[in-house]
Symmetry: C2
């Protein structure tokens, strides 16, 4: 063991243009908010900010759910928070898998002792509500339906309203992953009747990664309250977390909230409210159209059929003869541009070009098209 | 549901002096680091910074453990990461409880399906190694010893070297909570033979809350690898997390790391290395002596006996006739000074005055003494 300190100096990151599957470009205004003075997690001023954040999240998620707050961890912790609270050992859960993140839901169900029933769809396609209907017919005792609204690994958008309606018809709760959809394309928790949903801060909200907005319906809370077994995670147990985030009377210390990242999320949500969420959705759609025109003009083709396509995450097939890693390295090194690689079975097959939050701008679309044309020799 | 956006504007926190049990004052240099441009979690520049952070953490923790990294969550997630990986259902675990955080360890053991054996000591006292020895004698099949090095709820410092030695003599692994000790008082992972430890970013490292440094010995990793059952948490499963943090060959995506908070932790650790960890320990000790002299001069008495006292967290009994909440409100509102309340059975009995990281300064000591004298009518 060395007793001398390592000779490591301050880190100055390069300035990138982030057009992968998240994180997206973070506006300076949000970075500045994160650099404001740290205060205590039980400070009355901080508690006021927590209440504002909950209101702003309800606006973004289109819900009146009281239990709407940011989990102190990345989207994966938001996901696990939903599953460990709602799935009890032996509970049958229908899990839709059409990409990496559906697979992760499946893994969560297993680790909670749930009994998963998998509904598979092709990677790059939406979840088929008819298959979900058939799964409930075959498993009428299923208690929960879990699906990904916007599959970050493929860019496919599923019909959340239709899927939640199937679950409701069969008396089941719904858990929805809206990590990549929130803020970029409509997410309507109450109108669709979603019981539990989790998202991430670093996608279309354009904040830094590390926080996961979640929301729970009254029916979901009733299921948590009626559990016969304790929640297997102490940190994620909603019965305990609620004492801190509920805002009803005195706050009870549970864990030390990530103060400065929460300043950043608050600012990101204020910016979304200033723009208006409908306008944000329209901007993402318009930038997608502009990017699509340019990409197709270069002969690139989309993985996902047009009517199942997510505007903010554009998956295109690699042209024949193109070296995936070499091209992305050139984009990064010569253009400071990050785009996403394929994940899982799609590794080496596709690129994922994100237009999320502040990255959904005319400047970014033009810059990305110019850089791609250069590395693909199209100009 | 309202369709209009809530009228909420940017949040400007008050500027406080943080002398509670954490968060501590965060130097502007660390806040500035957090406001640098966000880059991707698989960016080569970010991966280099991750490697540097691991080296800096090894320096701070006095260890050569390869598996040393910051968990993407608050200290409670670091705690749970240790327990869910190391405790298998049926494993007997001796848990030392001398405050709130020992109790939290106990709760973690239960939720992992472990069989806890509790060693109780009074709140405000160190853990008694003789009791731990007796517990192992009574339970020779115990596989793990879990204890809190620095009890944040009381300010008691336990003899970690002695406790780990007891565990080792009985062939058990040790799990240590060093949330409040790291950076403020010696933490010697290798010299003491600790197998797993977790800390927090917001105490004596003076960073913002939200990250939890952890370290695991080879013996701990061997126990994780030899598990007969899967780790119950997907997010905390070291077998998966390692693919991202290991740095051996290609990094595998696991979750999106909290990029900007990690910039902050890196900067905090660079500052610790610049000061020299021995100097940081000496500074905390010297500021404790200065504060103690002043507090005792006002007639305040310490909860913890002198030789079991943590320099960076000073628990003093409330003087007779003093209104706890009213006094702390005056400190906050008139002096912008935060000190900590008592937790659990000590609520209303003590104040916890932190001298952690940047808060362990002559300025803060003098300011705190002046403010306390004013609200206690001692000047």
């Amino acid at each position: 063991m060395s007793v001398t300190a390592p000779a490591i100096s301050s880190f100055t990151p390069p300035r990138r243009t982030l057009m992968g599957p998240g994180p997206s470009d973070v506006p300076q205004r949000i970075l500045d908010a994160m650099a404001r003075p740290t205060i205590g997690h039980l400070d009355p001023a901080f508690c006021d900010m927590m209440e504002q954040t909950k209101s702003l999240l309800r606006y973004a998620l289109r819900t009146e759910n009281k239990l709407t707050f940011p989990v102190s961890g990345p989207g994966s912790v938001g996901m696990e928070t939903c599953f460990v609270n709602l799935v009890e050992p032996g509970d049958k859960v229908i899990v839709c898998v059409n990409g990496v993140f559906g697979g992760r839901m499946l893994e969560n169900v297993k680790r909670c002792g749930g009994v998963p029933v998998t509904v598979d769809d092709a990677w790059g396609r939406a979840v088929d509500p008819a298959k979900v209907e058939a799964a409930f017919a075959a498993h009428p005792d299923a208690k929960i339906l879990a699906f990904v609204h916007a599959e970050t690994s493929t860019g496919a958008l599923s019909d959340a309203a239709a899927l939640a309606a199937v679950a409701r018809r069969h008396g089941a709760l719904s858990i929805m992953d809206c990590v990549t959809s929130l803020g970029g394309t409509p997410v309507m928790i109450d109108a669709w009747g979603i019981d539990a949903a989790y998202s991430g801060s670093q996608k279309c909200l354009s904040c830094t990664p590390g926080l996961s907005p979640v929301t729970f319906s009254e029916a979901a809370i009733a299921k948590v309250r009626a559990r016969r077994t304790p929640v297997q995670s102490w940190f994620m147990d909603l019965n305990l977390v609620l004492g801190y985030w509920s805002g009803e009377g005195k706050r009870t210390y549970h864990h030390t909230a990530p103060i400065n990242p929460l300043y950043g999320l608050h600012e990101a949500l204020v910016m979304l409210a200033e723009e208006g969420i409908d306008n944000a959705w329209a901007r993402h759609r318009a930038m997608h159209e502009a990017l699509k025109t340019g990409l197709e003009g270069m002969g690139l083709t989309f993985l996902v059929p047009a009517d199942e396509r997510l505007p903010q995450l554009n998956s295109v097939r690699l042209p024949a003869g193109i070296d995936d890693a070499a091209c992305r390295a050139r984009l990064l090194n010569e253009f400071d541009l990050e785009i996403g690689a394929g994940l899982g079975v799609l590794a080496g097959q596709i690129w994922r070009i994100g237009l999320m939050g502040a990255s959904a701008s005319r400047h970014n679309v033009d810059y990305c098209l110019k850089a791609l044309a250069a590395v693909l020799g199209k100009h």
